[in-house]
Symmetry: C3
Amino acid sequence: MVENKVKIPLNIKEWLIPQDKIFFSLLEEQSRLVVQGAKLLNDLLLDYKDVAKRRKEIKEIEHKGDEVVHTIQDRLAHTFITPIDREDIDQLSSLYDDVLDFTNTIVNKLYAYRITEITREMTLFGEVILKAVTELNVAFQNMRSLNQKEIERRSVEVHFLENEADELLNKSVAELFEQKDVILIIKYKEIYEDLERLTDVCEDVSNLLRDIVLKHS
Amino acid sequence: MVENKVKIPLNIKEWLIPQDKIFFSLLEEQSRLVVQGAKLLNDLLLDYKDVAKRRKEIKEIEHKGDEVVHTIQDRLAHTFITPIDREDIDQLSSLYDDVLDFTNTIVNKLYAYRITEITREMTLFGEVILKAVTELNVAFQNMRSLNQKEIERRSVEVHFLENEADELLNKSVAELFEQKDVILIIKYKEIYEDLERLTDVCEDVSNLLRDIVLKHS
Amino acid sequence: MVENKVKIPLNIKEWLIPQDKIFFSLLEEQSRLVVQGAKLLNDLLLDYKDVAKRRKEIKEIEHKGDEVVHTIQDRLAHTFITPIDREDIDQLSSLYDDVLDFTNTIVNKLYAYRITEITREMTLFGEVILKAVTELNVAFQNMRSLNQKEIERRSVEVHFLENEADELLNKSVAELFEQKDVILIIKYKEIYEDLERLTDVCEDVSNLLRDIVLKHS
């Protein structure tokens, strides 16, 4: 819907989808973009090359995500009936956008800080993040049906993955201090912390989604 | 109102303003203090001298801001009819106070870390912050009339300014790593990050204000 | 209730406590665990030895806290009448859990970063944290009766303690920069910042509790 620049199919789709269900479609679309971003980040951390080029690809996904968020905000301002509270949709969409923003920020830093070598820990973080975002995506695909049980289950998984990232951070930073190059310590430490914070944001999104669904069940 | 220490004019004003509108006046007052703080910070970053003295001036503004926040909380506890939900006013006022707190924190750090030289990037941050706070102030002056369109417009501007600060941060820190003095890197990096976070808080305030007005429109 | 592994007393207690009051009991239980965590942290910072062993003790408390949070979430999903909004209880419990999580994180870092010496500032932070958590605990014991005045009073105290921690952080970090060992600066700076952030979370909890009680008074 957002990737498609042709206007007509969008309008046709609107006639088919009742006004108040469009928000689920938009959030599902946003969710797919967040997954794409996490996949690109994970790929980069698994096979670290062409950073400048792949950074642009992630930037594009992030931009598409922004467009969906703005579409959601625009629709909220012009739709009188929404299936769930307007401010809840708005807040959820904004917070979910932070996941993609953060993904973009991390790749920007890898590039700007001239990181030439990826550590094993960074690769592990990439995997945990992709798993967390995949769980989130399943939760968002179950939002339309207000499937509380499934969303709760995904929320528990995201919580475990966030804990895993937390332990990974402690271990990585402790090891980092064995290093001699202080500037490298500072750069790597910040990137580790950002990778971990990305899973924090995933957990925040998952908690908010769960709370909203809890409120409507 | 808050700057004025004479109690009588305050009471007279209260008789003229209906009880439930006093919160708009107080938030507008708070907003003016936030602008004053940002101006003092910007001035300091443009013309870096007399840090000890100017730090005290900002501290004073911050203290006045605290007083307004406490007045708001006090009134909320004793007013039965408010134009918007009590918890919304409380949250908005507390979050807005973080902008002034942060302004104060940054100046404290410049002083405590014995920073003797301001970088061009810091000056640029000062400008972005003043612009963001000025947009916020316009939004707050439009809160009373629940002017959703104008508040939305300011919110978009604050979002752009936050993005600008974000890019500025990436660029500044990347350049900083070319430095040799590691302790200076640590100090400057933290101040850059605080300056950027100040714009994050501005965006949070602007989003919250927009959400509250959206809820009441 | 949570510490007790025997199932029968729990069930008996449930018959005695009306369904919708169980959440106050659970939050009070959570609160006692948060105090226990802060006491262990404070003790460790006063008498720094046996870090590996005492780290495990705090980990255990943190685990018990997690169990209470999960019990609360579980009950919320299966209880139709709650004295206050379900999402409020959920959010409050999750946020309060961050205090215990953070306590655990700090002790983990002391251990993982191989910190051998505690500074006077760290000991002072430990005291401020214990005081803040003690105030929070009093506020939570007054939640059941929705004692707005007492909760407000505790909230003001927590705010003052957070300010104290803030000033302590500025002073500690500024002094730290007089050090020569950069890696030690990085380690200590992070621990100081975490100690201060713990008081920030205490203030967030106290504000949220106050807002919830304000809403129901």
